[in-house]
């Protein structure tokens, strides 16, 4: 029931000036799922994650994580921001960025030491970036940058992970590697909440889905939510369903192939 929801959102409204970016969002994301958040550009996907993490102040509404407030649960929550949100020409190394994930645990004065180095190298190993530990971050490709950000979240040892478009602009190998790691985390009982933009891969990647366009279009197991009807409601004219027969001939049938035209 509701008690085992990893993330519970009630009447969340966020506005930018007088334009609502999110309108009365009510969602319970169960624990231990790989949840996708999809919706057109400007649907408020990133804003939703950021307001859940306290980065964007909501106009109204409440959020709880495993029944507790964000502040009480902060140490159990990991975050992978959009790759483009930082300056990759910053003078630092891959290992250093990963160790930043441990700063919260270290408190005010303590510096990262041998133990932190070791943990960070292990996380880099998991994302296949062990050999890049001493590399300048300005020399990384987009896919490598994304893996470093993922490693930084992995060292947080969180129970709930928020990932903002981790598959945007990365190569196919990296996308595969990221999905493998996320699946392993899910199988270990973690909850993963992923903002995603590629509708073609929604069904193969996620087992739970939130379809969003300012309001909640649908939330639940992916097979129930990823329907042609919901896609049309969320994307309106922006979407071209390649295989309309497949979508329309049965009730609640998943849309097997869909293409986002605008992007």
């Amino acid at each position: 029931m509701d008690t085992n929801a990893a993330v519970k959102v009630k009447h969340l409204t966020v506005s930018y000036h007088n334009k609502p970016v999110l309108w009365d969002v009510n969602v319970d994301i169960p624990a231990g799922v790989m949840a996708g958040i999809v919706g057109p550009n400007g649907a408020g996907k990133s804003t939703l994650i950021k307001s859940l993490l306290g980065l964007v102040p909501p106009l109204s509404g409440s959020v709880s994580f495993h029944g507790q407030t964000y502040k009480a649960q902060r140490k159990r929550i990991g975050y992978v921001p959009q790759r483009s949100s930082v300056d990759w020409d910053f003078p630092t190394t891959v290992l250093d960025v990963v160790m930043m994930g441990l700063y919260g645990r270290l408190g005010w004065i303590k510096r990262p030491g041998r133990k932190e180095r070791h943990e960070s190298l292990e996380a880099l190993d998991m994302v296949g970036m062990h050999d890049f530990a001493g590399r300048q971050i300005s020399q990384l490709s987009g896919g490598q940058q994304q893996r470093v950000f993922l490693a930084r979240a992995l060292v947080q040892q969180a129970d709930i992970y928020f990932l903002d478009e981790p598959m945007a602009g990365v190569d196919a190998t990296t996308e595969r590697a990221i999905i493998d790691i996320l699946c392993r985390l899910r199988d270990a009982g973690k909850t993963l909440i992923v903002v995603h933009h590629d509708l073609q891969t929604v069904q193969s990647y996620f087992d739970w889905l939130l379809m969003l366009n300012v309001q909640v279009i649908g939330a639940g197991p992916v097979n129930e939510i990823f329907t042609g009807e919901n896609l049309k409601r969320a994307y309106g004219g922006q979407i071209a369903l390649l295989n309309e027969d497949n979508v329309l001939n049965t009730n609640n049938a998943p849309a097997f192939t869909a293409l986002e035209r605008a992007e």
Binding site: L53, G54, L55, R74, S85, V86, P91, T92, M100, Y103
Partner: protein, 377 residues
């Protein structure tokens, strides 16, 4: 004046020590300003320090360093906060907010300055030196104040090193870890204000911004770590401070402050030009190497294809006849990959023809294989 007498000179000692402290604090904190994309924040703060200097003078009734520094820090900090508030709460972009803060505060400062000069206060002498700095007026007590401020700022920076680093690199992530991001940002801005205040006496409000930006920009070229960058920036600051102070002793009427800035700028220019990996020279060399490598492969490939087609009449018609190609052809000849001969019968007396040597053929085969293009014949 010999070098020994200059080194023994009391004023010179003061100036050098002051310049060194200024170099350390502005280099270290300037690094954070530059990395946070707030290079011009120092400009706004230093211009806004002028009304504070004047108010400090009016309150104390004399040219008292302590009250002047406190006044400068207050109005400089006020301008910085006003700027942040303007960008957050109004539709003004950062540059517009910065520009308006800078000019409003500086205008107030100039009005106060001319007012003080009009009152014919006997001790007002040298207050306008804060515009462009007057290093020679530095007292030993001023030096200790500058040293104290530098020490405090560096101690705070060392204690909160990892917070300052993470907030500068990724403030949002820092917030999700529970770091008091706003507090750290205000603290960094406050310390940049302190750096500006330290430099007012030596460099003046107009040129102080360069002292915040230049050492950091130069240091970024040479370092791969934040710690290294901050230390190199401090070192660049010290070197430019001391060399500026020394240069000004070489002749009469050479102002120390501008010479310090010019020294720092010289180091910036050299760093931008030749720093390994990031310098312009490095970039030019890398581009030239890449172009040469591509051109070499293209020439060998074309000649090899011509050879495969056994088209003796057209030995090298696909190569462009530019000087660049000619140079590349001779270079390949020197490397033993090509031979040349004249074929007067086919193309006139001046046409030089090119042919692959056996080792040229081997290289061309490798190139063809790596491009994975099916071979003819």
């Amino acid at each position: 004046m010999s070098w020994l007498t200059i080194l023994g000179d009391y004023t010179f000692q003061n100036v050098v020590m002051g310049a060194a402290f200024l170099g350390i604090i502005s280099g270290a904190l300037g690094s954070f300003a530059v990395l946070r994309g707030q290079s011009l924040l120092g400009d706004a703060i230093s211009h806004a320090a002028l009304p504070g200097v004047c108010l400090g003078f009016i309150v104390a009734g004399s040219r008292n360093m302590g009250s002047i520094i406190i006044g400068a820090a207050i109005t400089g900090g006020l301008a910085a906060l006003l700027m942040l508030a303007l960008t957050r709460m109004s539709r003004l972009k950062t540059d517009a907010a910065l520009g308006s803060c800078l000019s409003i505060f500086f205008a107030i400062g100039v009005v106060l300055l001319t007012y003080i000069q009009g009152t014919e206060n006997a001790s007002q002498g040298g207050l306008d030196a804060f515009l462009f700095g007057q290093a020679a007026a530095t007292l030993r007590s001023d030096v200790w104040i500058m040293g104290g401020i530098t020490f405090v700022a560096l101690a705070i920076l060392a204690a909160l090193w990892k917070q300052a680093k993470l907030v500068t690199f990724d403030a949002e992530f820092a917030r999700t870890l529970g770091m008091p991001v706003t507090l750290i940002e205000v603290l960094l801005t406050t310390m940049i204000t302190l750096a500006v205040v330290v430099g007012l006496q030596m460099v003046g409000v107009v040129l102080m911004a360069a002292m915040i930006v230049a050492p950091a920009v130069a240091a970024r070229q040479w370092s791969r770590h934040l710690g290294g960058m901050v230390m190199i920036a401090a070192l660049v600051g010290v070197i430019s401070g001391i060399s500026g102070a020394t240069l000004s002793t070489l002749g009469r009427g050479l102002a120390t402050g501008p010479l310090i800035i010019l020294s720092a700028s010289a180091i910036v220019l050299v760093s931008l030009a030749i720093a390994p990996g990031r310098g312009i020279l490095w970039e030019v060399l890398r581009l030239a190497r890449q172009r040469w490598s591509l051109q070499k492969r293209q020439i060998l490939y074309v000649l090899y294809q011509t050879r495969l087609e056994q088209d003796e009449s057209e030995r090298s018609p696909w190569l462009s006849r530019s000087a660049l190609t000619a140079f590349a052809l001779y270079r390949l000849k020197r490397q033993g990959l090509l031979t040349s001969f004249r074929n007067a019968a086919a193309l006139g007396k001046s046409a030089r023809q090119w042919r692959l040597t056996p080792s040229g053929v081997r290289q061309a085969q490798q190139i063809t294989a790596t491009f994975n293009i099916p071979q003819h014949g």
